[in-house]
Symmetry: C2
Subunit: 384 residues, 2 copies
């Protein structure tokens, strides 16, 4: 297998992009990535999207995206693993280049979530959970993550304030990201006093509904010299699943799919958690960032909350997490999120992140999650 | 890259499986494939499904299927390319084994289409076309394929009777397939006099709405000796796309995505169309089989209709096509169809097909199609 590098990335400012269609949004980010990489053609395309059928009434997204990108006859593959669809697209693009089948592969992610009304978005998102056993009981994602939060508080003493600190820190980071949907700063008091969604989670504990896309271009590492920008090497990739239903797991205070995927990625990269300089993780809810920061080995179980409160995960902390603003502030167009994490890692490792640049960033990790942890994809990238 | 072989396949009798859920249907076929291969565990899973969100209110199918199969922590990936989702799952499973990442990979396909009522299935299927430009005009798949039929009749003189001969032949083959949804034989007169759907296509020119799944197990070719059944080698794989909308193509009488995918597969296999002993092709409508039999190079453009009428594509003809009964008689649970084609090729190449066995079958081709030809996947398999 060949070593693989990212040579270009692109994403537009995310938000409620009502003036643009699903395909417009994809193409806009794809062209930014192609410009960044300096390529006019790609050999193959992977598109991660969770449920364009329910959100936009359009499936067959490989064909749609390749067509409107002007790359009509290439292999174009849509993959889905709920909110981990983008990370999975990146993994398959890596696999295709690593295998030697193709040389220039685009991994993209896209979701247009604001074209459904009423409870449409909540229903569409709920199809990432177990609709037969969870959905039928009326539980949706805020409820599932609230149950994890209650269990984590009960077992480890995690506090309401610690959850709020995750939101405060991510909005602080997002305020430095010109592409973030909600770049405003928030205070601990604002989070704690914001409207209740599913106890103990308030609206400011939840990632938003977003339209957006993100794309990355992958090439063999030994061909990076043919391009103008520095390459960023993919040194680890992992992908694992778990029970689709939360209640089928032995422990609701951790995410085993993330731990298993990380173990694969750490092994391939020959790295340990302490070798990671910064990470983008799947903070769909504030509790998720705490649980994941433990599942990835950055903190001992139960220590994620205190670490967030102590500022250890801030931009200038010893383990910066979600310096992009995370899903919380940057936005969460579900299928695009995994690729946006790669965009952040790539720009950070190229030293292009301006106000939110992590000092001496050489190794970054991205963790993308599907559902309540039914799936997870982890990648580790390094400066070349 | 390593050579890869199919070591086991499975599928249940297809039909209106109202007593079984989406996940039941998948697991049933998956266990048949694991029994056939003699394996108790798999390293990785690919599931092709077109739109379980719209048909069954359930996405995140990789997690659901791995979970209910009792393989909870493996990487499990759902892929979608409309009705070519199954073929695409097979291609990615091949890629994962060929790359050396995994040794025992399952490629599955599943769709449960009968749980929606009214125009639900027609709407769900229409999302495989261009919903912005085709769907908005009210055209659905029978209409799109009817336009292809009219164009083919106009350009080449293809007749209404020739279309009927495809249906007659596929139901004749399906009558020998115990897993076919509609195993009854039909006559040319019955097809011509059946109720009109979209002129010139009648109901007996159309593949049905079906519940079903199919699975295959892939391993490195050099490990086939560790298993009990003979392996069947994957010697060619191709995948290509085209414009999502029919009206954007230069020629509506052919399917360029199929020609391009076949060219890749023929090149990799070092085979020509005349080296293929039999083929399973995507006969979602009778006209599709004729167009595809030309696009794959089995017949000159315009000669597919006369060949079908002359019996050249019959079980005992010189180029047997859809000896399984095809989508037309066997049924068409969209995401499962591409894997069912692999099931038929594998069993034929192992000499297990009983009454519908192709004599001296050594090389088989499977062509799976998405939408009106927005995507196509082609595989060539050979006796080891």
């Amino acid at each position: 297998m060949r070593d693989v590098a990212v040579i270009g990335v692109g994403m537009q400012k995310w938000g409620e992009l009502w003036a643009k269609s699903l395909r417009d949004i994809f193409v806009e980010s794809a062209l930014l990535a192609m410009d960044d990489a300096g390529v006019k053609e790609i050999d193959s395309l992977y598109v991660g999207s969770m449920t364009p059928g329910l959100f936009s009434g359009q499936e067959h997204l490989g064909s749609v995206c390749a067509d409107y990108l002007g790359q009509r006859h290439i292999p174009a593959t849509r993959v889905e693993s709920a909110c981990a669809s983008g990370g999975l697209a990146f993994r398959l693009a890596w696999m295709e280049v690593a295998s030697g089948i193709s040389d220039v592969v685009m991994a993209g992610g896209v979701e247009k979530m604001t074209d459904v009304s009423g409870g449409g978005a909540t229903y569409a998102l709920a199809t990432a959970a177990d609709m037969t056993w969870e959905g039928v009981s009326g539980v949706t994602f805020p409820g599932l993550y609230a149950m994890m939060a209650v269990a984590h508080m009960d077992k480890y003493g995690t506090t309401r304030e610690q959850l709020a600190h995750v939101a405060v820190k991510n909005h602080e980071n997002g305020s430095k990201n010109p592409r973030a949907q909600f770049p405003m700063k928030v205070s601990v008091e604002q989070v704690i006093n914001s409207v209740k969604v599913a106890d103990p989670l308030n609206i400011l504990d939840c990632s938003p509904i977003t339209d957006g896309a993100a794309c990355a271009i992958l090439v063999p590492a030994d061909k990076v010299k043919d391009y103008t920008k520095p390459g960023v090497k993919i040194i680890g990739s992992g992908h694992a699943n778990d029970t689709i239903a939360l209640h089928d797991r032995a422990d609701m205070t951790t995410i085993r799919a993330a731990t298993e995927a990380a173990a694969q990625a750490y092994k391939m990269a020959n790295k340990r958690p302490e070798d990671i300089d910064f990470a983008e993780v799947h903070d769909c809810f504030t509790i998720a960032e705490i649980v994941i920061s433990e599942a990835l080995g950055f903190f001992e179980p139960g220590k994620g909350g205190p670490a967030a409160e102590a500022g250890e995960t801030a931009l200038t902390g010893k383990m910066p997490i979600n310096v992009s603003g995370g899903l919380k502030s940057k936005g969460h167009p579900v299928g695009a999120t995994g690729i946006a994490q790669i965009v952040e890692l790539t720009e950070q490792l190229r030293g292009e992140s301006g106000e939110r640049q992590v000092k001496d960033a050489r190794v970054g990790l991205a963790q993308n999650m599907g559902g309540s942890g039914g799936s997870s994809v982890v990648h580790i990238l390094e400066v070349m």
